[in-house]
């Protein structure tokens, strides 16, 4: 059964000065779907994600989240952003707060939740990523994989409709990648809607509902992972997949 779209990107353009990074992207993500975005570096994958919560302002086009167009200037972007979780390549944990502090900051300061309630919710999020025992640990005391899982918990605590992952495992040592992917797999099984920019092809093959291949600021091809990885319509996709798989 096709769910209702959580995220719809329509005719999205983004230019940095004279450099056009996104050249008209159309993408729809339905509830519970895990969409993987792959493509060569500089193809605009990260920019696409960052336009979806307006960390970058789109030049043209619409981004519709749960029915409302977030690119309209009368929209409360701070309210919308709580519904769009974002996980960054470099984790970006706040170094002056422990894990629980990182996870509960927005609950307390943005949603005005009293500390005991926020702590309970934060602990639930940390439990979900398997780090309840690290609630009092400082970011520098955690491994990269643990830091990234805290960052995922920080996004989850706000009960987002969708979570965006911007190369979540690229900054990790190879032996730590698995723990983050496991958390993402569990999230997917719990029905979370996710958009993932990553080069973890094995994970994409196993967990993605759809793989989107971007090249030069446009979507060249999209489809189920088995189709895109084994029998793509464009030779360019096949070359890229072969190249990445070779290196991993």
């Amino acid at each position: 059964m096709p769910g209702k779209p959580i995220l719809q990107v329509i005719g999205l353009h983004k230019s940095f000065g004279s450099l056009e990074v996104l050249k008209g992207i159309d993408l729809s993500v339905t509830k519970g779907e895990l969409v993987f975005i792959i493509g060569p570096s500089g193809s605009g994958k990260s920019t696409l994600l960052r336009c979806c919560n307006r960390l970058e302002e789109p030049t043209r086009g619409s981004v519709i989240v749960d029915g409302s167009d977030i690119t309209r200037h009368d929209v409360d972007v701070n309210r919308i952003r709580q519904k769009i979780g974002m996980v960054f390549q470099s984790f970006n944990l706040y170094p002056h707060m422990n894990a629980l502090g990182n996870v509960t900051l927005a609950l307390r300061k943005v949603q005005g939740m009293p500390r005991p309630d926020a702590d309970a919710k934060g602990m639930a999020a940390l439990t979900r990523v398997g780090l309840a025992d690290k609630a009092k640990a400082w970011p520098n005391e955690l491994s990269g994989g643990q830091q990234q899982r805290v960052a995922i918990a920080r996004a989850l605590a706000l009960e987002p409709l969708i979570v965006m992952f911007d190369e979540p495992t690229s900054a990790l040592d190879p032996e730590l990648v698995g723990s983050v992917l496991n958390v993402m797999r569990e999230l997917r099984e719990s029905g979370m809607t996710m958009v993932v920019v990553s080069h973890e092809m094995a994970f994409a093959r196993a967990a993605a509902d759809r793989v989107v291949f971007m090249d030069g600021g446009a979507i060249l091809e999209q489809g189920p992972p088995e189709k895109l990885f084994s029998n793509p319509e464009h030779a360019r996709v096949g070359e890229f997949v072969a190249q990445i798989s070779h290196h991993h």
């Binding site: 952003r81 970006n92 943005v110 960052a151 706000l158």
Partner: protein, 225 residues
Amino acid sequence: MEFERLVFSFFNADVAARYWLDIVDGFWVTTYLGLAVIGTGLSIGLALAVARSFHFQPASFLIVIFADAFRALPPLVVIIVLFFAFPYIGLSMNAFTATWLALSMVLAAFAEEIFWAGILSIPKGQTEAARSTGMSRLQALVNVILPQAVRITIPPLTNRMIAITKGTALGSVVAVHEIIYHASSGASEAGNPTPLTLGALAYLILFVPVVILSRWIETRFAWKR
């Protein structure tokens, strides 16, 4: 023997006994003036750095002009302008107010630059992470950026605070009754520089605890990255 003349000139017990109470009075004025300058100067400096972080060009431009002007001007000139020139445009103020205001502006200019450098030194990802959880620009600044930036700025700010509090000595020019005023008038009255020695002692008593406190704050607020 030269040593006896040194003791007679700079460590003269009789002169010290006559003037030490004046120096104590000056000590309190210096302390009070210094605290007032630090309070206003740091507040204005922080407010300007925060305002500048909103990247509104006309405001940033004015802030930079303010910071550059007051970092370039000798504080003494600012005091003299406020005290002697401002009455002509209908803005009279007493010596204490003129000194307080002048030094506050100078400290604000330096503090703004220090806070601004601190804010800039925090990686962009910190703001992005905060904003992506729905924090406004100001909330991200207050909860995420400033707590990190302020820690970095404690050592340079402490140096500035000490420098500006010593700058209160310039108030003696417009007859603010702080340490140097009492020390130098005592020295000329007695014909003996011992009051200046007492003044130096007063500055040591004032600043050594400040330096120790700043070291404590640095370690207290240090966190490992």
